[in-house]
Symmetry: C2
Amino acid sequence: MSDANANPGTSPSSGMRDFLPLEAAHRRRVLNAIVSSYRRDGFSEIGTPCMERLEVLQNAQGGENDKLTYKVLKRGDKLSAALQAHPMRELADAGLRFDLTVPLSRFVGHHSAELPLPFKAIQVGPVWRAERPQKGRFREFIQCDIDILGEASSHAEIELILATAKCLSELGVDGTQIRINDRRIITQFARYCGFADSFFETFFIALDKLDKIGLDGVVREFQASGAQPQAIHKFQSFLGAKAGASSTLRELQAEFGPATDAACDDVDEIIRGVEKASAGRVAITFDLTLVRGMGYYTGPIFEAVHPQYASSLGGGGRYDGMIGRFSGRSIPACGFSIGFERLLDLIAQRGQMDPGPERCALLYDAGDDFIQALRAAEHLRSNGREILLVRRKKNFREQVSMLNKIGVHRALKLADTTHPDLAFFDIGPDARV
Amino acid sequence: MSDANANPGTSPSSGMRDFLPLEAAHRRRVLNAIVSSYRRDGFSEIGTPCMERLEVLQNAQGGENDKLTYKVLKRGDKLSAALQAHPMRELADAGLRFDLTVPLSRFVGHHSAELPLPFKAIQVGPVWRAERPQKGRFREFIQCDIDILGEASSHAEIELILATAKCLSELGVDGTQIRINDRRIITQFARYCGFADSFFETFFIALDKLDKIGLDGVVREFQASGAQPQAIHKFQSFLGAKAGASSTLRELQAEFGPATDAACDDVDEIIRGVEKASAGRVAITFDLTLVRGMGYYTGPIFEAVHPQYASSLGGGGRYDGMIGRFSGRSIPACGFSIGFERLLDLIAQRGQMDPGPERCALLYDAGDDFIQALRAAEHLRSNGREILLVRRKKNFREQVSMLNKIGVHRALKLADTTHPDLAFFDIGPDARV
């Protein structure tokens, strides 16, 4: 298993990533831009720890993500006791959060007396999922969430969708579209097809994969899970018919019956509210096949998609039941989460990476006085410039190419710092100085 | 153990913290100010994952912190295999980082071909230690590190100390002092007293507690660990004598002999360099009793202290051996870490919390048109204002007190948004509107 020389190697843990300077700086700029945008819209940042008690995470109906939780081993006597018990007791007492919604729900339950309700929250930070490592899937990744707690009406959804769409647009990602559905409509869809109540969870999970595995794939999953053939047939003909998949809200309401009235009214109000408040700038459409993975959603669900990107850029929905499961006090809740890694991916793909502030090297030679160089650098920084003090090497061309890699494209010689006009010059592949 | 009703409660995991809006916003502002200050000094931010392979963490000579590592349980088949083996194999394959120096060392070993050397790094982020929960000690806390990799001379220490002192000063924390010592001098001190080489580790650990347990406490620890009585006596008389503890570098050099020549020259060069480059603004003094907890230091060590704060605000030193232990390529290294939590504590204690940008409530009533309120809020935000859309409640006084808690101290009524002069007014405990 381990190297004979006990050298542990230098690669990050499987599925985890290091960030080199240009990427790290870009990530910080985008993250701060997201937080600033949401703050202007009146949201307030809060913070929760990365690690939560295991019972908090397990209480959360996180769907598939429950199984992907990284568990933290007990320590000392507690670990020994767990190992020695028959049968062996739980070896872990904590876990790394798999999303930001579960910790927020615990937080709001804990601090509701210290917060105005409705409360509009921002939470950004890393989450962890023990996914099988594969391209574009990371085991540690950043989420950027906004949530409105204590607002039962569709005003919450409207404000969340507008704020998220505006944030994406401010980051230069134009053309985002919002897809919306409602968990109550999907539930009624399953019932309408004739699936048993006990099958609904399986129904959601399989339908959620429609984009990836197609209608035939979903049908095969239903069959493999032992669903009633008549229900599968009704599902297949409904979605297979062009009219079924593209039905309007009102057509579905007529087809599925009055059980969907409240949900359809809510979704309709959200669509009209978003369109009107944004003067049509935010594109939002109903989509019966949108599911979202989490088990905790209870009402409207939505996601942001972009024509140049295969996966959704973010998603969210209403999870009215969750806070009450922690605190006993029921507080309605709704949130929208931006998938930070995907957003960065799209920004890079569109060639929209902001180069950041100019960085300059102050070049000195081995024979120069280091303290004088330090003082000259300090003087240059006084107007906010980013100045990197660099001792010139013999192979300056190679040195320049490495400096370029960390975003340094300008330089100044120590000898020139006393001149009244600072003689900054470009450094790049053709540098001859 | 667990509640009968299976409600997991709402408190964070033991020793972990939630952050309410004012604190969370303050933390982000200070963190960004630190990164900006270090960037101006030419340092580049990099990122590493929070979780590292266990063998990486265990390779690191983290001193006491090795024992405080949170370990992450293996999953699936690997966990079953570990449990079923006789004797049982390691149940964890990863751990949460206990500092930022170990991940940085792995990072630099991995990416040295992509970085200019010397490379000046910034790394900020959470670290975890499974400490016994107690006042002022947290199990998850932020560190802000700068490091210079690939610079063997004292230029690294001088630049790190100047940058850290300036950063603290820019945050309004004036009066910071730097204490400096060298691991090679402490080692020679132990040898001079007559302690056996095998006792040096214990010597470091006990001496590190001098501030907390006093000279008598350190002596008792030596006795309990079975040190030679003559050595303890020599140690006690040397430090007990006023002249011993306050000896100058040159006096010690004469006393300890030529084995400390290189170390004393380095420390002397650093002290003179810092004083000269800062024109005396940065106070720096030699302190024979400074140890720093980590086992990986090899040369100069230093810390920043403040007369109004009992613990150090940060510390660091040279760890030339560590990167080579990961990559096989020896790269000299030196770093300075700011203890973010302590810094925030001191800033709060000094009443220097920055209130941040003005936040305003746009007040509407239940009878108002929500979409119109949204559009009015959006209009007000166009110049960068932070506008929180708020539906006025019957108990406005209570509502105001909650809004104050999240930093909202100004308001405007929806009806007044059409006036050419915006009628913002203060909201506070005496609000009557």
